[in-house]
Amino acid sequence: MTGVRLKRSGGCLGVLLKIAMLGLANALTLWAAPVLIGDRQYGLLAGLFLGVLAIDYVFIAKKAYPVRFLLPGFLLLTLMVVCPIGYTIYVAFTNFSSGHILSKQMAIDQYRNRYVKQVDLPAYKSGYFRNRAGAIVVLMTDRRGNRLIGREGKAYPLEISGLNPVDSDNDGNLDHLGDFIRLGTQQIFPMIGKLQNLTFAYRDVLLKMNSLEEFASYLPQYRYDARQDSLVDKTTGVIYYARAGRFASTNGTYLDIGYRTAVGWRNFKDLLTDRRIANPFLRVLMWTLIWATFSVIGAFTLGILLAVLLDDVKLRLRGLYRALLIIPYAFPVFVSALIWRGLFNVEFGQINAMLAPILGFKIPWLQDPFWAKVALLITNLWLGFPYMMLISLGALQSIPNELREAATVDGASGWQQFSFITLPLLLSMLLPLLIASFAFNFNNFNVIYLVTEGRPAIPGALTPTGATDILISYTYRMAFEGGVGARNYGLAATVSLFIFLIVSAITWINFKFTGALKEAPER
């Protein structure tokens, strides 16, 4: 009986906790709504509301009980995986790059907010007034003492405004205009974003903030013509039509600011057909495959070799060796990769200092494409073998000793035992890990970027591409280091899609080998 009661009270607490948590989640969503509306993030808002509604439903409805364990994972998956993939696909079809950062509307808005100051017209000292309802009027006084009132987009003389000017402390500055009260500097600052965009039509110009204490006469420089989709420079009369991410006039001149726009398959076409982009891309792809393959084979061979040696009970000080050999794995890659970079330096590196007297020349480790690749593979071997050694050691324990004993009885040599018993058994156990390691090295940005930065360069490449770049570092450099018109996010996104396809294929093969996609066998 007591057991049942305890369980029930726990359930009650659980329900309370559940309701509290759900309430909190809903409250947070409601609180986020105005913020997101303010930022015009309607998509995010809709997603958030749908997500919270789904959670409410799932946690309250009895029918949906099984789903509640899946839902958080599903939401996370959407947020962290599906959204970025969707965005990358979208970017791959745009010209998103330096000079094409803003949306078209943002670019047009910037031009609509360009004004030409009319220097031959008067400037005005300004004062700001606000009434109870929060409406703002601006008092503008020119050098001769003429006073204008700016209100709701128009400016007119104070005398016809119907506002009663009051200077209560007689300091020459008005304190009240009707029911509007003068604002102090500290009150102005939080509103500056609004105030700086106020314009008042006066005669044929616009009065606009020129500095904190001054208004001046301006004329807008550009007019947007929605029908023609063009910006007209009113000072020169030149018409700039929106074409392929820029505003261009018919005589070949451009406005400075470009915008982001869809370009269809252009990035894909460039990547596959432009010789100066496609050739380096293929070289990078080839080297990525070689790099990943040799990294895995090298680390695995060395790892298994050491594991077999360490597994030998006759070896003394095994614990010490094991500890020492794990060091490369325990070291942060950022430190060891940079140390290797220093070791490989052609003039100052320790490796050449040791090798040069023997070879009679200095190996250009980081300068020559071939040697740079060798240097990278050596570095990655050093970084990678302890992991392989560790998992092989573990796997070796699970191979029954009887098998080897039986082989010994049958007269098999040590090598025969290894190649016919140990290795096949190890391979079948470690294959999934090897494939995972391949996929990891396929995207092993750190080692490449820290040791060679992808250099040395491939001559003639249009994108910033080096002989030791793998796909991921190639993409990074394209997006962030510049080349074709500096940062090219569009093209980089296109390459990421290719990487996505390749890694997906590897994962699929991995699943196939490990049988993860198969249904559980019936018993």
Binding site: P72, G99, E481
Partner: protein
């Protein structure tokens, strides 16, 4: 238990989403946010206090890596999470202006206090986009213990360098960062190389790239010869150069005033002087101008402009900037008072220098050019072939971008 943890997980996700929607470092109405690198962030914080006291408003100075300022403005600005003001370099202008990231500013009467060339550097089209404060260019830095009198000509530099070099002892006569177009340019420009040709109206012609002309090839060959003669170590990057010079392992380097603080801290007795002449011709380094820019996506543009014109464009602010980060001032009233010989050295080099092209096409130049230098230094290509390839590539990239 599982249920509880999944709820907690969900709340975490929600909080993350909200946090993402409202970045902590975003420009807020009524508060100024400034992005500056570590050197200038300290100075900015100091005189932000003065502005805060006068206008009773909050200024936040966010220390950001110099390189990150340029990289992140493009994403943070339009997303509404950028700063109001950034501290940067005039050659960023092209990319910033064409990407719609910065705002023209009007210095009004204060314009006359700034050196015309520094204002010119921050001008794009007909508008001024920045408030300049420091001028910089590279020069010859020499260790006075090893080189009592700096060489006046390249031939002198080579013969002096040869005497000082001892490969076995790891002693070098001369070095510069490799492969680095910025530091290599003076060698190439002396004999006539240029990045972009100049049109009749004074604007730059991005399709006329003159890096592979006779002068450029000659200049790059000089560098290759230095490596071959064992005077300059191959594969020396910027940090290696700084370390070699600090420890007296290299006698002469080409570097800029930003290294001074480092060398002074290491107590190296160094001098900064004019670059030597090549075949009787003056080496012409790139001239860069450091300054302040106003983000087009900040919420307080008017405040930002007021801050710059009323507080930064003053002698006291310019002085404290100069004290922390000694570059020749662009602010004339302060420039008149500076007597430091090293700073005069920078000015002497800058006076004969070439303004670093700020047009966005410059983005396509650096990488290809840097590759050409490394290919030539590594001996994979001749300087002629390496530079021909680079120019080819630059022009192709620029044509595509147009």
């Amino acid at each position: 238990m599982k249920r509880g943890s999944s709820i907690i997980l969900f709340v975490c996700v929600l909080v993350t989403v909200l946090a993402a929607a409202m970045p902590a470092g975003a420009s807020e109405e009524g508060k100024l946010l400034i992005w500056a690198d570590e050197v200038r962030a300290t100075v900015m914080t100091e005189f932000a206090a003065g502005f805060e006291a006068k206008y009773k408003m909050k200024i936040t100075v966010q220390q950001t890596n110099f390189k990150d300022i340029k990289e992140q403005l493009g994403t943070a600005g339009p997303a509404g999470s950028g700063p109001d003001i950034i501290v940067g370099q005039h050659d960023w202008l092209g990319e910033f202006v064409t990407s719609g990231l910065i705002e023209p500013i009007d210095l009004g009467d204060k314009q006359k206090d700034f050196s015309p060339s520094s204002l010119q550097a921050f001008t794009w089209g007909k508008s001024l986009y920045g408030l300049p404060y420091g001028i910089e260019s590279v020069g010859l830095i020499y260790n006075k213990a090893l080189v009592p009198k700096p060489p006046k000509t390249w031939t002198e530099l080579v013969s002096r360098g040869r005497k000082l070099s001892n490969k076995a002892k790891g002693q070098w006569g001369f070095t510069m960062p490799q492969p680095d177009p910025y530091h290599t340019f003076p060698l190439m420009s002396a004999t006539g190389a240029y990045v972009f040709g100049v049109n009749a109206d004074g604007t730059l012609n991005p399709l006329n790239v003159g890096l592979n002309n006779k002068g450029g090839v000659f200049g790059l060959q000089l560098l290759v010869d230095l490596v071959k003669a064992g005077i300059m170590p191959l594969g020396c990057d910027y940090d290696t150069m700084i370390n070699l010079f600090k420890t007296g392992k290299v006698a002469m380097i080409i570097a800029g005033p930003w290294t001074f603080a480092d060398f002074r801290a290491a107590k190296v007795n160094f001098g900064f002087t004019k670059l030597p002449t090549v075949k009787g011709k003056i080496m012409r380094p790139f001239v860069g101008v450091a300054g302040f820019m106003v983000s087009a996506h900040g919420k307080n543009k008017m405040l930002a402009k007021t801050f710059l014109t009323e507080f930064v464009a003053t002698k006291s602010a310019m002085k404290s900037l100069f004290d922390k980060d000694p570059r020749p001032p662009a602010y004339i009233p302060l420039a008149k008072e500076v007597t430091d010989p090293d700073i005069s050295g920078v000015l002497a080099n800058a006076a004969t220098g070439i303004p670093m092209p700020a047009i966005p096409e410059m983005g396509s130049v650096w990488n290809a050019w840097s590759n050409a230098i490394s290919l030539a230094l590594n001996g994979q290509l001749t300087p002629q072939k390496a530079l021909d390839d680079a120019v080819d590539q630059i022009v192709a990239a620029i044509k595509r971008g147009m």
